[in-house]
């Protein structure tokens, strides 16, 4: 009973922290810095050294993204030795699975990776309605939009105008955090996608653009 009480208290405290994170934000009437797509419209290919850790299993390799037309991206993941692991296409809001090895061909896992990459490609950004917030220290311009049952928060650092964090939250509880850091001429050198409700972490380290 004592343990139950203690764990309930810890649970409440823990969720309070998550709730607190968003409740401290102040709504602002307009955006102070505009939100731009990470990959932009430059039709270049980007090459990342990539590690995907899913429930204790590590998959490392090279992830390459290529914009084929304004709203059409191809994303391919190969091992360092060149073996293709998956080949995705994102055209507007449609998703095509061109190829996938059995290790990744699990509907739930594929869906999560697909959604994570969609978040980074920001294909549907122009169609979204946003609300704007500021944090207590006024360090960020925060843009909030609906993403199905989730809320997406985009944190733009005011000092650099760089998008440094994206959070997916469900009923104000943080589900996924995308951390974008080490910017090199307006493109993040490191992207870390950390899921909080499943054991999945994706690290993208830019090699070439």
């Amino acid at each position: 009973m004592k343990n139950l009480l203690l764990s309930s208290f810890i649970a409440i405290l823990f969720s309070a922290c998550h709730f607190g994170h968003y409740s401290r934000l102040t709504k602002t009437p307009t955006e102070s810095i505009s939100l731009k797509p990470i990959f932009g419209d430059n039709f270049n290919s980007f090459l990342f050294k990539t590690n995907i850790t899913v429930y204790g299993k590590d998959y490392s390799g090279l992830l390459v993204t290529k914009q084929m037309s304004p709203q059409d991206y191809r994303v391919i993941f190969t091992t360092e030795l060149g073996m293709k692991l998956f080949d995705f296409e994102f055209k507007d809001t449609a998703f095509t699975l061109h190829y996938c090895v059995p290790q990744f061909n699990k509907p739930k896992l594929l869906k999560v990776i697909q959604k994570d990459i969609e978040t980074l490609l920001m294909n549907d950004l122009k169609k979204k309605a946003f609300e704007y917030f500021s944090d207590s220290k006024v360090l960020y311009s925060i843009h909030k939009t609906k993403n199905g049952k989730l809320d997406n928060y985009y944190f733009i650092e005011k000092s650099s105008a760089h998008l440094v964090k994206i959070e997916h939250a469900k009923k104000r509880r943080k589900k996924t955090t995308f951390t974008l850091s080490n910017y090199q001429t307006d493109f993040p050198g490191n992207i870390l996608i950390q899921h909080h409700d499943i054991k999945l972490k994706i690290e993208l380290n830019l090699l070439k653009k």
Partner: protein
């Protein structure tokens, strides 16, 4: 209307005079001839598919014996390599560079240095992967995939794939190279690999280039340069900490 004595199909029934009949027969012969030529051509392409600039090796037994004899002379091997990944949808190839060390029996250190650091080492039944400064150690026999990676890498470096029963081998040559084409026979391997091409130089029978072609025709090619044979390599090179 059909002629009573005719075996001709119904779509020929409108042509009733002799001239027309002769014309039709001639057309048939011509088209039969053309079809035969076409089928022959297609068959030739489908079954031979000799790579451009190469001809089939006549005495494959002699070639295999020479390959084996040469491979027996190699105790250590090291070389730089350049790996190119071609993906049809991308405008440019992904190029990675590195260095490898090989020592008999079954010790291999395969290391990428540019544009990223990644190392795979095989030491008999152990496999090490060093990535992001973190070393992972695996027992090769514990995992079917590791076992096949090991066999593939060690055999590729040694040029030993020609005796592997999992592959069907074809042998070609030109002035400078023997070209060995290996097609996987097992279903699992066929899913991601159409053919492996080994370019073996005629001077010392060493593998100069390996090209692994996927069913989609995307490929990975590896070129070996600055090869050194039978230089001493310490066993420690194959233990990763």
């Amino acid at each position: 209307m059909l002629k009573s004595n005719s075996n001709r199909p119904i779509f020929d029934s409108a042509q009733t005079d002799d001239k027309s009949d002769r014309h039709t027969e001639r057309s048939r012969s011509v088209s039969l001839f053309l079809t035969t030529v076409l089928v022959l051509m297609l068959t030739t392409f489908a079954f031979a598919q000799v790579p451009a600039g190469y001809k089939p090796v006549k005495d494959t037994t002699a070639f295999k014996q020479k390959m084996e004899a040469q491979s027996k002379l190699v105790s250590t091997l090291e070389s730089d390599f350049t790996q190119e990944k071609y993906l049809s949808v991308m405008s440019e190839k992904i190029i990675s560079k590195g260095h490898f060390h090989f020592k008999k029996v079954n010790m291999l250190r395969w290391e990428y240095n540019d544009p990223y650091k990644y190392l795979i080492a095989i030491n008999k039944d152990k496999m090490y992967i060093k990535d992001n400064g973190k070393v992972s150690k695996y027992d090769i026999n514990s995992n079917k995939m590791f076992k096949s990676i090991n066999e593939m890498m060690v055999n590729t470096v040694q040029g030993n794939l020609l005796n592997n029963k999992d592959y069907k081998a074809k042998f070609y040559e030109n002035d400078k190279f023997y070209l060995l084409e290996l097609s996987p026979l097992q279903k699992g391997a066929k899913d991601f690999l159409k053919v492996i091409q080994l370019y073996i130089n005629k001077v010392d029978y060493a593998v100069d280039k390996v090209k692994m072609i996927e069913p989609s025709d995307d490929y990975t090619s590896i070129d070996f340069t600055n090869r050194k044979t039978n230089q001493p390599i310490a066993d420690e090179k194959f233990i990763i900490k």
